[in-house]
């Protein structure tokens, strides 16, 4: 009976689905055309080169913060662990938002399809070498995250009713006003809010819906699935659930998801570790491929530059360092010292990119789903698709699924559940970030908030119906546009963070702040 159900459902939907096949194509064409100019601007290369200016912007930003704060990601790592463990948490703050909780909530917004599907896109376009640049971007991004999250707490709004709101909108406005740059700060805050709304609709929504749909198609028969080419069906169902949560206020769905997501993350990482243990003799070879590919390209069309671009692009999309989004979640923590949350937040790119993304990349490389010429050791480039030839010609979440499935045959089913939950959790987090930006621009009120929430739900359908290419381009462009504005503000405000850091370190050194555990 159970086996008959999908077949019966497919038969019922088939005529309807066939007639509606064109809906996905129409959405893809209209939205792709509309977002094209924005995407082209963000990814415009330097004249005479193929190197996008936005990648250099991210690299320079992360390097500046790393040097300015004296490699805080290395010096502060141990202290960050101590803060998360609660070693410095005062008993009178019991029941308030702990450092761990702020970190976990921020992570639930970042760990997700960027780690699963995004990494697959990076290595299939940039080759294994993209992983090297991704790890480097993750390590350097820790300093960007430190800067923005310290500011997020320092300049948050604490309202009389006890609620807290923070994020780039507030530190750009208040922090820069303190420096006598109120007008620039206001302009940057408004620009950030506009791009944050686009980011919420793109990376925080369309990309999630798109890849969740891709994996559902993958496990229900691939090209023969009744869902294939009918992303709008998945989109409407997902949009309906998102609507129930963000408009209907059914918190239980969000709460259940938030609690399942850490479990799914553990299962995902656990399965990755098992595959790596099963192929332990190839781990050294895989790292060899990563290092060699980082500097030679190993046959990938873009070579070193292609690997670097993909590595930085996917790392920034995955860990959101310098983007400013995580500062919104981190700013709710209970602490008297804003810099403590800066320390804690630097763990986020480490967990997200250095640990989880690297593990995904290793599994993809080791399981041999990337086409490689055995005689030359170079990867086989599919010029038509603009990426390395893969088993079944797949990319994104389907490639990661194929890699895991080649070692653990039933894992694609578990991955489908994980992907849907990750997608849903990220959507809930980003609907919140987007709403904060929306209310910053248009003010609070039921009608204005409802307008954003309805738009958000419509974009779930658009994301699921479109093909991966235009979705990921728009998602990246929107997220990186946030980073352009946010990092500009961070350059102005980083002396304030440095003062906070010096003040806090002096208190630690003098014993004014001590461990309570």
């Amino acid at each position: 009976m159970k086996k008959m159900f999908p077949a019966a459902l497919a038969a019922t939907l088939a005529p309807f689905a066939a007639a509606a096949q064109g809906i996905d194509e129409a959405i893809n064409s209209i939205v792709g055309t509309a977002t094209g100019p924005f995407v082209s601007f963000i990814f415009a290369p330097f004249p005479g080169t193929s190197f996008p200016w936005i990648v250099l912007w991210l690299v320079v930003g992360a390097t500046v913060f790393t040097i300015y704060f004296g490699f805080i990601q290395l010096r502060g790592f141990g202290h960050a662990i101590g803060l998360v463990k609660g070693d410095y948490s005062h008993p009178e703050d019991e029941g308030e938002v702990s450092h761990f909780q702020a970190l976990a909530t921020a992570l639930s917004g970042t760990v997700g399809l960027g780690n699963i599907a995004g990494v697959a896109v990076a290595v299939s376009i940039g080759g294994p070498g993209a992983t090297f640049w991704m790890i480097l971007a993750g390590l350097m991004g820790m300093a960007s995250k430190f800067t923005e999250c310290t500011l997020g707490v320092k300049y948050r709004n604490e309202y009389p009713d006890g609620t807290v709101s923070g994020g780039p909108m507030y530190y750009l406005t208040k922090g820069m006003a303190e420096q006598g740059r109120a007008t620039i700060g206001r302009i940057l805050a408004v620009l950030f809010s506009i791009f944050c709304i686009l980011g919420a609709l793109g990376g925080g929504n369309m990309f999630q819906a798109n890849q969740a749909h891709a994996q559902l198609v993958n496990i229900t028969g691939g090209a023969n699935s009744f869902l294939d080419g009918n992303g709008w069906i998945t989109g409407i169902i997902m949009a309906g659930i998102v609507f129930l949560v963000i408009v209907g206020g059914i918190k239980s769905i969000a709460q259940v998801t938030e609690k399942l997501v850490p479990a799914m993350a553990i299962i995902y990482v656990g399965a990755g570790i098992i595959i790596l243990i099963m192929n332990y003799d190839m781990i050294g070879w895989a790292f060899g491929q990563i290092f060699a590919g980082a500097f030679t390209g190993l046959g990938v069309a873009g070579g070193l530059v292609g690997a670097l671009i993909q590595g930085f692009r996917r790392a920034a999309f995955s860990n959101e360092a310098g983007v400013g989004s995580a500062a919104i979640a981190h700013s709710a923590v209970r602490t008297k010292e804003p810099v403590t949350e800066g320390y804690v937040s630097l763990l986020e790119p480490f967990i997200d990119t250095v640990v989880i993304c690297t593990m995904t990349a290793l599994v993809i490389i080791i399981t041999g789903v990337l086409g490689q010429d055995p005689s030359t050791g170079l990867y086989i480039w599919d010029a038509e698709l603009g990426r390395i030839a893969t088993e079944g010609g797949v990319t994104g979440v389907e490639l990661t699924s194929a890699a895991f499935g080649s070692s653990i045959s039933w894992f694609p089913l578990v991955l489908a559940v994980a992907v849907v939950l990750f997608a849903f959790s990220t959507m809930i987090s980003w609907s919140y970030y987007g709403l904060k930006a929306w209310t910053f621009l248009f003010g609070e009120g039921k009608a204005t908030e409802l307008a954003f929430k309805v738009i958000f739900c419509i974009f779930v359908v658009l994301g699921a119906a479109m093909s991966l290419g235009p979705v990921i381009d728009f998602s990246d462009a929107a997220i990186f546009a946030m980073a352009v504005v946010n990092i500009t503000g961070l350059y102005f405000l980083m002396p304030i963070v440095k003062r906070e850091l010096e003040k806090y370190n002096a208190k630690l050194a003098s014993g004014q702040i001590v461990k309570v555990k």
């Binding site: 019991e94 308030e96 702990s98 909780q101 909530t105 609620t163 918190k251």
Partner: protein, 143 residues
Amino acid sequence: MPDELYVVAYDGEHRRAVDHAVDQARRSGARLHIVHVIEWSPYRFLTPQELEERHKRRSEEVARAEAEVIQPILSELGNAGIEATGEIRYGNVVELLAAIAQKQHASGIIMGRSRGTSFGGRIFGSAAMGLAQVSPVPVTIVP
């Protein structure tokens, strides 16, 4: 001020531990310290919306516990001529009661036994069983 002090766990509903403590206090002239614990873990996952509202919710929870649990029982004990203090804490009931008893140099802890099914308690252990194992002072579990 009497030297003897008992820490009494009170959830605001079940009076058995408090009633037993009152008998004890009457017999020995001991002071009572009423503790109301709101179960909380700093490792619990929260949604962004819950983060935003957490401080507000905590203030409301503390105010409600103060008005509906601690003040009524302290007032009742005061009227009965028993010297008593109270506090509201967030966290794990076992860890907190043990820590408070140690800090206050209490003679003992008095708490009620959970009346729930014993199935969950057998698997995960009840608060009373946990406290009996870690408490630095004698524990009285009131059935």
